[in-house]
């Protein structure tokens, strides 16, 4: 099982995602904005980061770029309600490896995660 970082300013969204991921046997840490995400990612060295986009302080795109600029190995999967192709492109350019659109089905989340978890 893997170490995951869940980043979302919505406490509701974080709780649901953390509960589900822990039920799948993963170790999960959290952050409520992009700035904290960078700090937690450096400290906890997660395998994968599930990153929201629209957040206060530092948004998910900027946080992803900052994490990649620090040379951290974590793979970033954007998990967002933003349905614009331009947002997907920005995420990829910032260093995200995948994009999951909310609301998502649990099977889709797990399939996306499996693609990027260490083997």
């Amino acid at each position: 099982m893997a170490k995951l970082l869940v980043v979302d300013d919505s406490a509701f969204a974080r709780r649901r995602l953390v509960q589900f991921l822990e039920s799948q046997g993963h170790t999960v840490v959290e952050a409520g904005n992009g700035q904290d995400a960078v700090t937690v990612a450096e400290r906890e060295a997660p395998d994968v980061i599930l990153m929201d986009i629209t957040m206060p302080v530092l948004d998910g795109i900027q946080a992803t770029a900052a994490i990649k600029a620090k040379g951290l190995a974590a793979k970033v999967i954007m998990v967002s309600a933003i349905g614009q192709k331009s947002a997907v492109l920005e995420a990829v350019q910032a260093g995200a490896v995948d994009y999951l659109l909310k609301p998502y089905e649990e099977e889709t989340l797990m399939a996306t995660l499996r693609r990027h978890l260490p083997t």
Partner: protein
């Protein structure tokens, strides 16, 4: 005045998002005023469209929705009751930006804000609202669009 295709984008996305996220069907119905003690979330929109989008539901409906999504029994004061309204609003408006992009409209949205209290009135100045009503077996909800095309004249 917002065009029909923009209003329809918000309407169909609200139905889709709620139905998928809550796993309870949501249908359009005649709109009503926001309930006095509504839980309301607000998102600012900028870009090709500018203004506010508000989504509101009564506290009992919000509690039922939160319990449906978490599978837990919650107290009416649980922060998740307000949190679920915020999250659904975020998903509705976020997803709709994708539909708006297909209409040639590029919009950015703010993080959602929660509006609480009795008889609170929030309105974008000079923008006539479009109010959409929805009904589910968990209760009604209201989506209010206070949006105009960028560069449109402010209405007196």
């Amino acid at each position: 005045m917002l065009s029909t295709d923009i209003v329809q984008a918000f309407r169909t996305t609200t139905e889709y998002v709620f139905t998928q996220a809550v796993q309870v069907p949501l249908e359009t119905c005649p709109s009503t005023d926001l309930p006095d003690n509504a839980v309301t979330a607000l998102i600012a929109v900028t870009g090709s469209l500018e203004g506010l989008v508000l989504l509101a539901m009564g506290r009992a409906t919000a509690l039922a929705v939160a319990e449906a999504m978490t599978g837990d029994h919650l107290s009416p004061d649980d922060e998740l009751v307000e949190g679920v309204v915020v999250e659904i609003t975020n998903m509705v408006v976020g997803r709709t930006t994708g539909e708006l992009e297909r209409l040639g409209l590029r919009c950015d949205i703010s993080p959602p804000a929660l509006v609480s209290g009795q008889r609170v009135e929030v309105a974008a100045v000079g923008i006539p609202p479009v109010t959409l009503g929805f009904q589910s077996r968990l209760g009604p909800l209201t989506l209010r669009l206070e949006l105009r095309r960028r560069g449109a004249q402010r209405e007196a």
